[in-house]
Symmetry: C2
Subunit: 313 residues, 2 copies
């Protein structure tokens, strides 16, 4: 039911030449504040600025030559649009990206800059899916879902593999939970690489679909998602939820103020630029201090693509 150890390691070797081995940073000050040992895996330094590069690379590399010739297509207004564009360009494949008409120009420019071919649609999910369907029919391109795709999940897990190879004695890895690709991939990595390391999720109260899904045992959705962590507003899917259900013991929910405080701490103390979604993991650790106290805790810093003109502090 869940991908095998061989599949997990094959993805690691496949993705490796196409991504940065991002650094793991530590901070005495944040360790003192959290009363634990934190190891930050900095995917904000990844190509295009987020871990999503890994999943996009793996998904494209797993296509047949015939499929590669026809290109790939996705709908996203976030990091996956940029990731698929850049991964496709670096592998020599066309990427069709469906973006809502009202997406910020800065995001459209980023996708264009990485060579993605943009099709604009209305902003409803239905309209975006219809546009992607039409592109598939017209071009034969393969649809790659940003998070609910086994190859994407395996690709996203390679950040945790790198982290565990460098720090094999971690007790926990904390990741944010959006569509579920990163946490599912990370959980697989920990499952096969470590006897003791557990992967813990973190998400905003304002978009706590994953927490509710673990409670109910089925995929729950968000009616609203008024969170600053814009990467975490999406729902889990049938490819990643079974993995999360089996391997992730807990998801911690955090308030918006906790996210902003954690983000400011990371910027001020670690001198790195991170997205609000990245700060959700540190916010969870600071909220549940007794749980993490005196442990070794990995944190996946998911990305650093943030509008500097619109910081929350």
């Amino acid at each position: 039911m869940i991908p095998s150890k061989e599949e997990v390691f094959a993805a690691y070797n496949r993705v490796r030449p196409f991504v940065h081995q991002t650094p793991v940073l530590t901070s005495h000050l944040l360790n003192a504040l959290a009363e634990t040992e934190l190891y930050f895996k900095c995917e904000n330094f990844q190509k295009m600025g987020a871990f999503k590069m890994r999943g996009a690379v793996n998904a494209i590399l797993q296509l047949s030559e015939a499929q590669k010739n026809n290109g790939v297509v996705t709908h996203s207004s976030g990091n996956f649009a940029q990731a698929l564009s850049l991964a496709a360009k670096n592998i020599g494949v066309k990427a069709y990206i469906v973006m809502p008409k009202n997406a910020p120009q800065i995001k459209k420019n980023a996708v264009k800059g990485y060579g993605g071919i943009i099709t604009e649609s209305q902003s409803t999910l239905k309209a975006r899916e219809a546009a992607a369907d039409r592109i598939q029919t017209e071009t034969g391109a393969t649809f790659i879902h940003p998070s609910n795709n086994t190859e994407v999940i395996l690709g996203q897990g390679t950040a945790a593999i790198e982290l565990l190879k460098k720090h094999p004695d971690l007790n926990y890895i904390v990741t944010p939970v959006g569509g579920g690709g990163l946490i599912a991939g990370s959980a697989l990595a920990a499952h096969y690489l470590s006897k003791k390391c557990q992967v813990i999720g973190s998400e905003p109260f304002e978009a706590d679909d994953a927490w509710r899904s673990l409670q109910s045992g089925k995929i729950e959705t968000n009616q609203t998602a008024n969170t600053i962590a814009d990467g975490l507003r999406t729902n889990l899917g049938d490819k990643n939820f079974p993995i999360i259900k089996k391997l992730v013991p807990e998801i911690i929910r955090v308030e918006e103020t906790e996210i902003i405080q954690a983000m400011q701490l990371i910027w001020e103390r670690m001198k790195i630029a991170v997205e609000p979604s990245s700060a959700v993991a540190l916010a969870a650790i600071l909220q549940k201090k007794p749980f993490f106290e005196n442990k070794k805790v990995g944190v996946i810093i998911s990305g650093g693509n943030v509008d500097l003109k619109n910081l929350p502090f």
Copy 2:
């Protein structure tokens, strides 16, 4: 007249256990933009967030035991206040810091957080010097100047030594020029470690005292210094100017808009938080593209202590 090779290397070995060996980052995008190969030595990740830690450590370690027992004193409202406080604390020495009454509370708190003992004074240089004199008389503490002190200069140069040990084939190292400690130390490092590497200075047009000093052959001062690069408003001194005059072939001046643009590029592209003073070096490289074209260029990112509530973009 200038410190010897032995003194330069002795400082490197002395300082090493007390500072972070900061990472050297690269960026494909910035390389493409500058049409050269850039190697960013990230002293924003240094302890207390700036290269100044290095000089403070070296100056304190060179004191006699009797001097150490009486502590050290300086006047600064910037990074050197924090650097001397933390270096002194880590070596087990008292640090007296004279700060102007009107210095931002956030800076006073940072100094206190590192264990510095603050004496407030009026904000004129005269009042600050008088307060430091009084502390020397009362406590027997040794005065450490933030930039015009040979041991401080040797300490600041250790960042360039680390950079050249990692990348021995650099053609240039570009540093910002404020009080002159960093560029003098870096120039000594390049002089003794490399046959070909030259150190180039960069400073704002609004505080171009070092450029004018190289032109006239004597230390010039700034009448005004309306630059966002607040670390670069100070003048050279009689300890560092002879080194700069002998070893630094050129200082490049940049406009305020160029500083802000370079700062934004570093934040957005490299995902790191840097001070305006740090961006002056990249601004100089982008301004003088033909000069640096197709060369290997080291850049000292001097620090990352910046007020996130007051970014210029």
